[in-house]
């Protein structure tokens, strides 16, 4: 998935994706990177909190990262 964002443009299995979202490939290009993508495990993903309801352990773990405070 991560590598797809670096050089996925035009890949046969990703042609349905709107070209404008390939902006990320440009931003993450190796010459002058503005952003740098890295993988983290799904369970360590703090943004999970913004996409769905979470059970308590995961919720509290992510809150500590985002707010620097726990409920």
């Amino acid at each position: 998935m991560g590598s797809g964002m670096y050089n996925g443009f035009g890949h046969v299995q990703a042609r349905h994706i709107d070209t404008r979202v390939y902006l990320i490939c440009e931003l993450a290009s190796e010459r002058s990177p503005e952003v740098q993508l890295f993988n983290i495990a799904g369970k360590d993903q703090p943004s999970d909190i913004f996409t769905k309801g979470l059970p308590r352990p995961a919720f509290e773990k992510h809150m500590a990262v985002l707010m620097a405070e726990t409920p």
Partner: protein, 674 residues
């Protein structure tokens, strides 16, 4: 207000009908003529008299209640109240209830459609007993209490103003607070206030109903302030309001806001607008009226399109405010705030605006007023206020930061090689400032103070309902919204069992519009949603659920929706004080952003994905969002693509802003994704 004979007779007839339909007993005469079967109760201690007996005593008795001079409202309002019914009730403390009606009042109350409505209140037996015991001491019989020199029983229960003024005063303060809340939320119940009350409560509860009616425009002349210009006349305090209006008109002329012009010079495209008054009573902390204020407003509805320009005042993005707080503690800046007073009245009015004098004030024939300065109520006021501030800052050497129209920055190199800087962002008339040189900031304030009327609030501690605590020693900035949460909860769910997460895991809000419960209105849920949305400013854990609820509030208000919103409120009840702390850390490089982005593929009913992301800085998030993606992603990869790609834009504008401020990020922004 003129007394309406027809209404009065109708009113009496209504009361008579009510009494004859409800009363099973004859109305008792003076105490001596009370039937023997009732008289037994008079020789028994009050604590041993049953509620039913007590009720028979009180039945039919009426009393005049006049608000004491030091009480609000100080219009000399009187209520004549009467006990018309009593009976057992499980709902009321003491198991018994008395129904008290407002038989008459002064000023006279007639509803807007000419009908006379009957206002009644339920008073529990316990309340009556408490008030009698409080008045005469415990261990007395009704006869002792009802000695003729103490006049009628009803007066005890319903309050002799001189004796019960203390009680009335307490109740009255509570009433006023409730009414204030009511004004804000337009809902809630009055009954809650009747706890532990004295007899004065009954009368004051009537006053509350009267106030409530006033709020709905049914009663005239009894509110603390008149609703509109015509309502001023006929009030007991008419003269004071007229004086307040005089003062306002003179003040506006004195400020040079208006000049008189011939009506012939007015261009055809311009309307001559009316001026309206807005009335407000100012209270001190004791609840005593300190000032009656009438504010002249232009009736902006009469302005024709094309005679004015922009109508908005720009405000800063919430992420910019958080970013400034985050930068502050990394760069060891200090946060300050100030606000500009009398905001609109100072700014010049560029467009041609013509007005009439308000109310009965008259100009000579063929004359009208032209506005030279802005006035409340004009469409262009908000923007017109922003513009001179903007220009002033530009002239003073501030540069506008690209990312936000109202974020500014000024740098001055000092002789010793160091740089003094001010970062400033405004929210209409409130401004937040971050600076590294207090002296420099003081000079800036003095200079600004020459052209605008300022109120300097010193260190930043309160902005947009958020409490901000900066600890310079530890290098932390903490923002929290406890007070706002308290207010939101007070209106909607006062006693809640806290839960640890704001929504169930993998919550799915089913569309089931048919199952809406009867007493739930969409409007009230829209209000809750709006309040929750504001709480999201800092409580980022609510972002997703508020996002889902906002979608649902338009389409379905089924039981799952109601359960979900209750759960959010319960979570909030346990986490009111939760805030964000930005912390200086030796480990990470200063001003380094890092972002995380995620997507929930095809999670919603319509198979669209939800992206969620956060941008973090100084150990906590500065920007975050939860959004439905515009397209239906075919694969989870595609939804991730969207999420990450759009996130990089978010980082972009924050970086650009920090770049302009001179805090350049050295490395690329890491974006974590799974």
């Amino acid at each position: 207000m003129p007394h309406d004979n027809q209404s009065e007779s109708m009113h009496n007839a209504t009361i008579w009908n009510l009494k004859s339909s409800m009363l099973l007993h004859d109305r008792p005469g003076a105490y001596g003529t009370i039937p023997a079967s009732w008289r037994d109760a008079g020789t028994t201690l009050l604590s041993k008299v049953s509620n039913a007996k007590l009720g028979e005593y009180l039945l039919g008795m009426d009393s005049l209640l006049r608000t004491p001079a030091e009480c609000w409202p100080d219009d000399g309002v009187t209520w004549s109240v009467q006990v018309v019914e009593h009976g057992a009730s499980k709902k009321h403390v003491g198991g018994h209830v008395f129904k008290v009606v407002l038989a008459d009042s002064s000023p006279n109350h007639v509803s807007s459609n000419g009908d006379v409505e009957l206002w009644a209140v339920d008073l529990s037996a316990k309340q009556s007993r408490q008030s009698m015991e409080a008045e005469f001491g415990k261990g007395k019989t009704l006869e002792q209490m009802l000695d003729p020199k103490n006049s009628s029983l009803a007066q005890i229960v319903l309050g002799v103003p001189a004796q019960l003024s203390g009680a009335i005063r307490r109740v009255q303060l509570a009433v006023r607070n409730t009414i204030k809340q009511q004004m804000k939320s337009k809902q809630g119940t009055f009954r809650r206030l009747e706890t532990n009350a004295t007899g004065a409560c009954a009368a004051m509860a009537l006053a509350m109903s009267a106030m409530k009616c006033e709020d709905e425009g049914k009663f005239a002349g009894i509110g603390p302030a008149p609703k509109h210009y015509n309502a001023v006349f006929g009030r007991p305090d008419e003269e004071k309001w007229v004086a307040a209006m005089d003062k306002e008109v003179i003040k506006i002329f004195g400020m040079g806001t208006w000049e008189t012009v011939d009506t012939s010079t007015i261009p055809e495209i311009c309307n001559v607008m009316n001026t309206c008054f807005l009335f407000k009573v100012k209270f001190d902390s004791e609840g005593i009226t300190t000032e009656r204020r009438a504010r002249a407003n232009a009736d902006g509805r009469q302005q024709k399109p094309g005679t004015y320009g922009e109508t908005f005042a720009p405000t800063s993005k919430s992420s910019i405010i958080r970013t400034i707080c985050a930068i502050t503690e990394q760069e060891k800046l200090t946060l300050y705030q100030f606000d500009i007073k009398g905001a609109f009245l100072m700014a010049p009015c560029k467009e041609p605006v013509y007005m009439n004098l308000p109310g009965t004030y008259r100009l000579p024939n063929g004359k009208a007023l032209r506005c030279l300065k802005l006035l409340y109520g004009l469409k262009q006021s908000a923007y017109g206020f922003h513009e001179p501030n903007f220009d002033w800052l530009k002239d003073d050497g501030f540069k506008n930061l690209d990312s936000d129209g109202v974020a500014f920055m000024k740098e001055v190199k000092k002789t010793d090689g160091t740089t003094s800087e001010i970062i400033l962002t405004t929210h209409v008339d409130d401004a937040i400032v971050a600076t590294n040189d207090n002296q420099f900031y003081a000079e800036f304030l003095t200079k600004l103070g020459k052209d605008f009327e300022l109120s300097d609030s010193g260190k930043l501690n309160w902005i947009l309902g958020c409490k901000v605590e900066q600890n310079l020693k530890n290098g932390t900035v903490r923002m929290s919204q406890e007070k706002y949460c308290n207010n939101a909860l007070k209106h909607f769910l006062s006693d809640a069992n806290p839960v640890s997460t704001p929504c169930e895991s993998n919550l799915h809000l089913q569309a089931s519009a048919a199952l809406r419960s009867a007493n739930v209105t969409r409007k009230s849920y829209v209000t809750i949603n709006r309040q929750l949305d504001r709480v999201c400013f800092l409580q980022s854990s609510l972002v997703i659920i508020v996002h889902l609820l906002s979608i649902s509030v338009c389409t379905n208000l089924g039981p799952t929706y109601v359960a979900a919103i209750h759960r959010v409120l319960r979570y909030l009840a346990g986490n009111r004080s939760l805030g964000i702390t930005y912390r200086r850390s030796a480990k990470t490089e200063a001003n380094q952003l890092w972002a995380t982005a995620d997507a929930d593929h095809a999670g919603a009913d319509d198979r669209r994905s939800v992206s969620g992301w956060a941008v973090l800085m100084a150990g906590a998030m500065v920007n975050r969002a939860s959004k439905s993606q515009p397209v239906t992603a075919i694969s989870s990869t595609e939804s991730q693509f969207y999420s990450v790609s759009l996130r990089s834009l978010d980082c972009g504008y924050l970086l650009r802003m920090m770049d302009m401020m001179g805090y350049k990020q050295r490395a690329a922004t890491p974006i974590a994704q799974d």
